[in-house]
Symmetry: C2
Subunit: 375 residues, 2 copies
């Protein structure tokens, strides 16, 4: 049920991935899917072997050999290793190649790379930093998937000396493998991700940490933890070393974001403590409006269509639906049953390749099902 | 694909629901499923009509008529209306009936009810307060579902004068409709939910509120909001009036929980700002361990089995699976496709009624699929 290649937009590209962890390997898989030639290298032989066990990802023998004929180099290493890997790639690639990275903070990475480059005479015009805003709380190439790249925002953060050619090349590559390039200055990127990415991580970890320490006195506390608590603490299972590194590398912006957050929490606390119900309701009302606005912006996924189909609650109903699609040669990319509040029937959200959507809809209609295409 | 009745454990009960919102109507549906006679009333005629459009839920003409022959009364009104509804139900029910409520905080509700009762000579031994720890960020009877009750923890918080008979009756009713009664003192309940339920709500709303206000200066900020931000702000879409009421009713415990949370955030901020990577990593490590421990405690759901089945990625694979189950008369309660990181195949999590699990497993094995039973 994984995605099949949908576009050949990257067929002319040769991608070299240096650092084949979760993100590097996911980008490699998305490039394979889009028809690119892909080679990968990782300092950890186990990571490299896991990444290269995927069809279409060839293992490189060393970094220089991995990038020597690349048109795009993606550096997916930990932050501390990026500058060195970028400088190496600039030295070892053809003059037409663009070199990018996946560091979650940009000013720090750009400064480290520029400082190292000035001693080496590196061709930094071909370095265009970036940050694919995807990922998962899991890590490592075994959890990689091309779908982690689908429709995500990929921040492209050129330095003052990045060339227009390299920038355009990177942006077109990103679009070809299914993501959405968004151009930002490095400092602005760091300020924004402090609020929408680093702060949520801190907020989640602090909440889990508090509940765990209360549990020492109140062993039943986590029994009472319902879905809301689980949602808020999911991120707390993320990689501790990786996050410590990210937060420290963006320390000023992270500290600022925590201060702004604490100020909001204290304002809410004061309104609650003083019994100011209208003020509390007003804050909740505004936040609700903003959250509903966010939900209305769909997380775009390239190349697929989602069809909504009500089905009756009896043995065989789902079989009729999937069987009809199978007979017509339609592969189901994803299927989710949404429980109907009224009881007696379910609603299925069916994801198929965009070019199979019309066939799927007519198959469903011919089975007396009433499909509604969502996206 | 909604759940079918699985037990008749409540067949001898007559449930009256006063306040047919999301929770009241969900409890009514779970009681219908378990074989109880169910009547409902709501001050809002639209709510009552929506609730009573479900099979098995009869609309009452007024509160007294609704409860007159009930064995269990469930008061699902907003907090401010609970005391009055409970006192009314105690006056209008047979002497064997137990009366409970769903107020999200307990000391406040108990004090208000006792104070009102003392003037009326109400039979408060039959009042056993409670709090089903389920729910959803949506509200209203149209979003109700018996499945909201499945396997949830239902706090039962007897007052010092609640009778042992009434307590035992309520606990057996809760178990019969599919939830899990957990006994707590009212004050202890309020202290624990301040941390695991009210604080997550405040943390989520404060984060959404901060991001929305930053958006005024930085229109692109929400573009960069990935899945983690969405998880942390989902609760911010909850009902503002309801939450304002809950937080104010538990104001001392909520203010204490916010203070503890702010102290954790400030400690993290100070460690980040001073560059103490090992200390930050240590905090993250501990929180990760606690979160993984939480994930390992499954959210119990009564009467179902979950089977995990790897299936190949080609048209027809899912049809073979669902078709085989249909032929054997097995109804699929839920089905989720989990994408395989390796590509080339998917993993299906299949939920069926517990008593159909063995049949389902042998059907899958006969189709050369390799099922693993999870729960």
């Amino acid at each position: 049920m994984t995605s099949s290649p949908r576009v050949d937009g990257a067929a002319g590209e040769t991608l070299a991935v240096i650092g084949a962890g979760l993100v590097g390997t996911s980008v490699a898989l998305a490039a394979v899917r889009a028809g690119a030639t892909v080679r990968a290298w990782d300092a950890d032989p186990d990571n490299l072997a896991t990444a290269a066990s995927n069809d279409g990802i060839d293992p490189g023998t060393d970094p220089a050999a991995t990038v020597h004929d690349a048109s795009v180099v993606f550096v997916g290493t930990p932050i501390a290793a990026i500058a060195n890997a970028v400088i190496g790639a600039l030295a070892d690639t053809p003059p037409s190649a663009v070199v990018t990275d996946a560091g979650s903070i940009k000013t720090h990475v750009v400064a480290a790379t520029m400082s190292l480059a000035s001693g080496r005479g590196a061709d930094v015009q071909r370095f265009v930093p970036g940050h694919p805003m995807g990922g998962s709380e899991r890590s490592g190439p075994a959890h990689a998937s091309a779908s982690l790249v689908d429709g995500i925002v990929w921040a492209v953060t050129p330095t003052p000396v990045s060339s227009a050619t390299a920038l355009a090349h990177l942006e077109s590559f990103i679009a070809a493998i299914g993501a959405r390039p968004v151009r930002l200055e490095p400092a602005r990127h760091d300020r924004l991700v402090a609020v929408v990415s680093h702060l949520p991580q801190v907020a989640s970890t602090a909440l889990m940490s508090l509940a765990a320490s209360e549990e020492a006195d109140e062993p039943d506390i986590l029994l009472l933890a319902a879905g809301g608590f689980r949602d808020l603490t999911r991120l707390a299972a993320s990689n501790p070393r990786l996050w410590s590194e990210i937060l420290l590398a963006n320390r000023d912006e992270v500290a600022r974001a925590i201060d702004l957050y604490v100020a909001r929490l204290e304002r809410l606390r004061d309104e609650v403590r003083s019994g100011a119900g209208d003020a509390v309701e007003g804050i909740f009302d505004e936040a609700k409006g903003a959250r509903l606005g966010l939900a209305a912006k769909p997380q775009v996924r390239a190349g697929v269509a989602v069809i909504q189909v009500p089905i009756p609650d009896r043995p065989g109903a789902l079989a009729a639906l999937t069987g009809g699609l199978a007979d017509a040669g339609v592969n189901i990319e994803d299927l989710q049953i949404v429980h109907s509040p009224e009881g007696g029937r379910g609603l299925v959200h069916l994801t198929v390749a965009a070019d199979a959507a019309d066939v799927a809809a007519s198959v469903l209609a011919s089975h007396n099902l009433d499909p509604l295409r969502l996206a």
